[in-house]
């Protein structure tokens, strides 16, 4: 076999690996759309209502796990199982933060969003996707900066970010359908 032929074959192998690393992309796009909608609705319409937020978060989690269950009909991997456990732990922490209620006062949205950022970063580590890791880190940094420097803009900016995430998730999902 020639060196060029071997190079072409290695290229085919890398292509297969790349396709596998993107195997969860349609599912992640749907998740992004779901949580984008939760943020757009929550921060856009009910920024101060703990009850509305709790309802939206529960609906978001129920839909996420339903989508995860549907995905598992097509693909089951060790990373997928770790992701389900990770997001279950995240859900538990979120419930704890919601239950802490008024004691956290104005800091509660920031605490929740830092937890969301951590969940994205951990998902990036589990799935070996640097994009998710970076997105989580930027989300945490942006949250802390806006919360500290422009508190009045916190809810509108997050509503806008949620809307963008919803649109991006839908766009990626539709593009993925080809």
């Amino acid at each position: 076999m020639s060196r060029e032929e071997a190079k072409d074959l290695l290229h085919a192998a890398r292509e297969g690996e790349t396709l596998a690393s993107r195997a969860l992309d349609p599912f992640l796009s749907r998740l992004l759309a779901v949580w984008g909608a939760v943020y757009a609705l929550g921060y856009g319409l009910f920024p101060e209502s703990g009850e509305a937020w709790a309802g939206l978060a529960v609906a978001g989690f129920a839909l996420s796990f339903y989508l995860g269950g549907r995905e598992a009909r097509h693909l089951r991997t060790g990373a997928g199982r770790k992701l389900a456990l990770l997001w279950s732990a995240f859900g538990l922490d979120l419930v704890a933060l919601l239950l802490a209620g008024e004691r956290l006062a104005a800091g509660r949205p920031l605490a929740i969003n830092l937890l969301v950022a951590l969940a994205w970063m951990a998902s990036g580590v589990v799935l070996e996707r640097s994009g998710l890791l970076l997105a989580g880190a930027l989300f945490a940094l942006a949250n802390a900066l806006v919360f500290a420097l422009f508190p009045a803009l916190y809810a509108p900016l997050l509503a806008g970010a949620g809307l963008l995430a919803l649109l991006f998730g839908l766009y990626r999902g539709i593009r993925g359908l080809r």
């Binding site: 076999m1 085919a12 297969g16 097509h74 693909l75």
Partner: protein, 98 residues
Amino acid sequence: MAFDELIHQPTRLKLMAYLARLGPDARVEFKKLQRDLDLTEGNLSRHLTKLEEAGYLRVEKGFVGRRPRTWVGLTGKGRDAFLAHVKELERLVKGEGT
């Protein structure tokens, strides 16, 4: 070390690479595999049969609800064969073999 003639075929190599990248114990449903690798049903079936006969893949049939499904996963033997083959290709590209 000799090349593995079975994995040598580009589509089969790509298929093995896809399954190996998903990690040990991963299983993927036939339709998803077909869609992701952009293969026809017949083409994918033929490759799967050859690889299964060699003990490189395990193919399981079952039902999700009332719908029949076929699941495909890499065996330990298949993973070893794939890694050895890629190593051999890399060695050749680096100019250490013929």
